[in-house]
Structures are given as structure tokens and as C-alpha cells.
């Protein structure tokens, strides 16, 4: 299945992926209205050091520790995509304890949020990949 993969050497550290992610998950049609003067809570995050930067988002592991660890049954796998049911989630953060990539994040709602490969919003290629100006993240089979 297609997943988001990182080409670290191409990452400019521009953080556009974070903005495109927040936009795709905002439910608003206009990027400016969705993001201007707002704090954003993207499901993808840039790590950066002096000369290196790269994006981290859910790996959609085939045998995911987060799903096995979820105490409420809120995390599940649907056609290979790991999803969180935010209405079921109580924000215990056991998945944050379990994920080796640090890819599950606290959400401003007090529950958790994560990348769902844009399957339930824009569909097709995830918005972070579409917005990356340098192919530092790609959506492909590997």
C-alpha cells in the first residue's frame, strides 16, 4: 500500500507540510481562512537540527504497537490506514507511550490526533506531500 516516505536529503525545513496538513484537516475550503493568525496542530512535524531536517508522521505500521496498546479501542486499522476515533478516545496517551516514532500527538480537544493519510478529507495523495516543494516527502509503495 502507498504510504508517506521521507527523503531527508531534500527537506528544506520550510514547514509547508505542517501547514498543508493543518489545512486538509481544518474542514475549511480556503487556506488563508483556515490558517491565518491561527495556532496550527498538524499531524506531521518537522524535526530540525543545524544542517538536517525531516518530516515525521505516522508510518502506518503493519503491526502497530499503538493499536495494540490502545486502552479504549479508539485506534483501529482500516484498509491498512491507522485511524483514531476521537469520540471514543479519552486522552489517556497510552498510544503516545507506545509509538516508537513519536507520531501520535495530543490534540487541542484533549484526545489524540494522528495522520490518517488524508483518506477521510481530501482523498488521494495526502496534502502534506502535495504541498512539499522539493519532494522531501512522497506518497508511494515501497
Amino acid at each position: 500500500m502507498k504510504r508517506v516516505y521521507v527523503n531527508e536529503q531534500w527537506c528544506l525545513g520550510c514547514h509547508l507540510c505542517e501547514y498543508y496538513c493543518a489545512f486538509a484537516n481544518s474542514g475549511v475550503n480556503d487556506m488563508v481562512k483556515a490558517l491565518k493568525d491561527k495556532d496550527i496542530y498538524p499531524n506531521i512535524q518537522i524535526e530540525e537540527d543545524k544542517d538536517v531536517s525531516f518530516a515525521v508522521s505516522c508510518r502506518h505500521c503493519r503491526d502497530p504497537l499503538c493499536v495494540k496498546s490502545c486502552i479504549s479501542g479508539s485506534l483501529s486499522i482500516s484498509d491498512g490506514v491507522i485511524k483514531v476515533d476521537q469520540d471514543k478516545c479519552v486522552g489517556c496517551y497510552t498510544c503516545i507511550l507506545a509509538c516508537p516514532y513519536g507520531a501520535i500527538l495530543p490534540s487541542p480537544r484533549g484526545v489524540v490526533q494522528k495522520c490518517e493519510l488524508c483518506v477521510d478529507n481530501i482523498g488521494g495523495t495526502p496534502n502534506c506531500v502535495k504541498g512539499c516543494p522539493n519532494a522531501a516527502i512522497v506518497f508511494e509503495e515501497r
Binding site: S69, G73, Y93, T94, P100, R142
Partner: protein, 409 residues
């Protein structure tokens, strides 16, 4: 093939999902003393806080049993396993045959042997949905509550009563709260937080005698209450396996395939003991993620697949009124501690590996630390200064990052 599962909680559900990864056809029968659809036990405190409800706290959807071809028998207890005949006997005397049996019998609250306990009028433990219902029925704005035990269960109970009762007094023999997961220094941070919400603590003390509505403590103090919650720990339900001649130590013994010493009998969850790879010894680690993984492992093996349950470490995520706590491993060796009043972090390392950590407040990306413990990653292979600062993949070598972020996981 006929599978029988004793229990209907985490390890039992993991077992069903494990069986169905391998065998879509075999019959599965789930026998449970509780009458409820599978639900998440740790969510009972969230239920009383109104953060979930009985529908949303179901551990799996309503259609789970049907979709997985499971028959259920609720409200029945198994009283005996006969491994020679390959049957289980129920409390009504009937016998049920199995080809493969899963014992996910869980644990029961330990009732402390304190004089006068039976005289207490309003008393409950806090483990099951029925306990939550009882507690809710017993308490109101005028209720004084005493909780015996400042562990995970006792404090989650305290949290969900904040603002709903007149007073909450927690008593524990230990010198600190959450003694199983926090050091004295870390416990003090959490205690201060809970005290802000009016929870009172009496530590290094224990109940010596009860009347119907008061406790005399070993120190001579008296605590008056309307409701008593006993939360002094749990005991594994091992009797079915030991009575049948299976090996039981601290809990039911299982190998890495989650087999007991009885042929075709498997076990997992809070009734079992297992090897804690961080501690390097056998113990009971009654935590939900491990229960699921044991159940899954047992199920796969029961159905003829191959799976092993390894690298189990203690790990807990818990929070109280917005203060999150994540801990894992054991607190041995050298330590690195950073505290700014609000947030607290302690890392413990020895022999070139991370042994344990405690994070309070800022718990973001804690799983990167957990993985270092679980995988015993040599600390000289990563940038330890970066890892001390915060959990980050940047601390790993370039080729490791390439593999983690550039390959299918």
C-alpha cells in the same frame, strides 16, 4: 477446531483477533462471569467523569462477536478445567469441550484483612463497570469518601470524584503516592497537583480497624467516611490452572507462546506472570497493552500460527486533571533529572542502555524513549545529549533514520 476463551476483557479480545488472523472457520466460545459486552476496564473513571459513556467505552464495536464468529456465554463462571478430558465445567455443573483453551481470567481486588471491614456499610472496590455503578449510587455532594490505596486505581477513583463529593481522603502504607510507578521526587509533583483539587493524603499509615463509618489508623488518627473504596491492589485469578495441575508462581506461568504447562491451555493478561526484560526477572505486569499482546500471541498460536510475546516492559500512561504522566522500565543506574516545577523528567540509564523514564507534564513523543528501553538500543549508537533534551528521531544515526522513515514498517 473449537476454541474456548475464559474471560471477555483485553486478553480475551486479543485472543479472538489472534485466532482470526489464522483461522476464519473454527468455533469460538467466550465464557464470562460479567454480563456486559467487552468494555475497557480502565475507562470506568472516565465514565464517572463524563468523558465517555457506556456505549463509547466498549472495547470493541457492537458487531464484534458476530463479525468474528464468536458465541458468547455471559453470566457463567468456569469452576474447573479438566485438561485430560479437554473440558471446562461451569458453575451450573455443565461441561463444555474444547480443542484449545484460553484462560484470561484476570485479577480480583485484594481485600485487606483489617478488623471490622465487614461492618463498613458503604464499601466498594474500583475495578469493574458494576463497581463504577455502585460507587456512583453511593456518592453525592455530601459524601465523605475514604480511599484505601494511593496506587493507579485508587487515584483514578479519587480523580473522578473530585467536585462530586464533599471530601476525598486517600490513605496508603507507602511513603508516597503511585509507589509502583513513581520515585518519591516524582510522586511529590503529582501529589501537589492532586492536593490543589482538594484531595487529602495520609501516607505511611494504614487502617488498623474499621467501624461502619470510620477507620482507626495505625498512627492513632481517625478518618470518618460515608463511603470506603478499597484499592490496595489486585490478585491474579490463578485457581483454575493451579487446580488442574498447571504451574503457577506469582501468576499463571506461560512460555513465550503464551502456553501454560497444561497441554492446549493458554493464558494471558492480569492472571499471568512473565519475564520483565527491563527488570530481568519474572513479575506480574498487570497492564493493558501487554494483556492484549499476550492474548493476540496466544490466539495466533492456538490457531496453528507462530507468534511470540517478548520484550515486555512495565509501562504506564496515566493522567489526573490535565496532568499527564508517562513512565516505563525500571529506575536503576545513573539518572538525568530535569524539572521546572510544572514539568518533570527523569531518565535512568545503565550499561549503555536506557532502563527507565518518568515524564510528568510534557509527555510528547514519549514512545521514542519507550522504544529505546524495549529494544535495548546501545546509547553510544545515538546522540544521547539530544535524547536527554527531548525524545527525537534526530538523535539516531542517518541510516537508522532512513530506514525508519523511508521503509515500510
Amino acid at each position: 477446531m473449537k476454541y474456548v476463551i475464559i474471560g471477555n476483557s483485553t486478553a480475551a479480545i486479543g485472543c479472538v483477533e489472534g485466532i482470526r488472523k489464522v483461522d476464519r472457520e473454527g468455533k469460538i466460545l467466550i465464557i464470562s462471569a460479567e454480563l456486559h459486552h467487552t468494555y475497557s476496564r480502565p475507562l470506568i473513571s472516565y465514565l464517572l467523569m463524563g468523558k465517555t459513556d457506556e456505549q463509547r467505552m466498549k472495547y470493541r464495536p457492537d458487531a464484534f462477536y458476530e463479525e468474528n464468529g464468536c458465541e458468547t456465554m455471559f453470566g457463567k463462571s468456569v469452576t474447573k478445567i479438566s485438561p485430560d478430558k479437554k473440558t471446562v465445567t461451569l458453575d451450573d455443573g455443565s461441561e463444555i469441550a474444547y480443542d484449545k483453551l484460553m484462560v484470561a481470567s484476570g485479577s480480583r481486588p485484594f481485600v485487606p484483612p483489617v478488623e471490622g471491614l465487614e461492618k463498613v456499610k458503604n464499601r466498594t472496590s474500583f475495578m469493574t463497570l458494576d463497581d463504577a455503578h455502585s460507587l456512583k449510587a453511593m456518592t453525592g455532594p455530601k459524601t465523605d469518601v475514604m480511599i484505601l490505596g494511593a496506587g493507579l486505581i485508587g487515584l483514578k477513583c479519587a480523580e473522578c470524584l473530585i467536585g462530586k463529593v464533599k471530601s476525598i481522603t486517600v490513605v496508603d502504607m507507602a511513603d508516597r503516592i503511585l509507589p509502583s510507578i513513581l520515585t518519591p521526587e516524582a510522586a511529590a509533583v503529582v501529589q501537589r497537583h492532586l492536593e490543589k483539587y482538594g484531595v487529602k493524603f495520609i501516607l505511611s499509615d494504614s487502617a488498623a480497624e474499621f467501624t461502619k463509618d470510620s477507620a482507626k489508623l495505625a498512627s492513632g488518627k481517625t478518618v470518618e467516611f460515608d463511603v470506603l473504596v478499597t484499592a490496595v491492589g489486585v490478585r491474579p485469578n490463578t485457581g483454575l490452572v493451579s487446580d488442574a495441575g498447571g504451574k503457577v508462581g506469582k501468576g499463571i506461568y506461560t512460555n513465550e507462546k503464551c502456553e501454560t504447562t497444561l497441554k492446549d491451555v493458554y493464558s494471558g493478561g492480569d492472571c499471568t506472570e512473565y519475564y520483565d526484560s527491563a527488570l530481568g526477572d519474572v513479575r506480574i505486569l498487570a497492564i493493558l497493552p501487554n494483556a492484549y499482546m499476550q492474548g493476540l500471541t496466544a490466539g495466533i498460536n492456538m490457531a496453528g500460527g507462530e507468534a511470540a510475546f517478548e520484550h515486555a516492559i512495565p509501562m504506564n500512561a496515566i493522567g489526573f486533571y490535565g496532568l499527564h504522566i508517562i513512565t516505563a522500565g525500571v529506575y536503576e543506574g545513573e539518572s538525568y533529572v530535569k524539572s521546572d516545577g510544572e514539568n518533570y523528567k527523569a531518565l535512568y540509564f545503565k550499561d549503555n542502555v536506557l532502563k527507565g523514564f518518568i515524564l510528568i507534564g510534557d509527555v510528547a513523543r514519549a514512545g521514542i524513549y519507550t522504544a529505546l528501553i524495549r529494544e535495548a538500543t546501545p546509547l553510544d549508537s545515538i546522540n544521547f545529549d539530544m535524547i536527554k533534551e527531548r525524545p527525537q528521531l534526530m538523535a539516531f544515526a542517518k541510516n537508522v533514520r532512513r530506514s525508519r522513515l523511508g521503509e515500510e514498517q
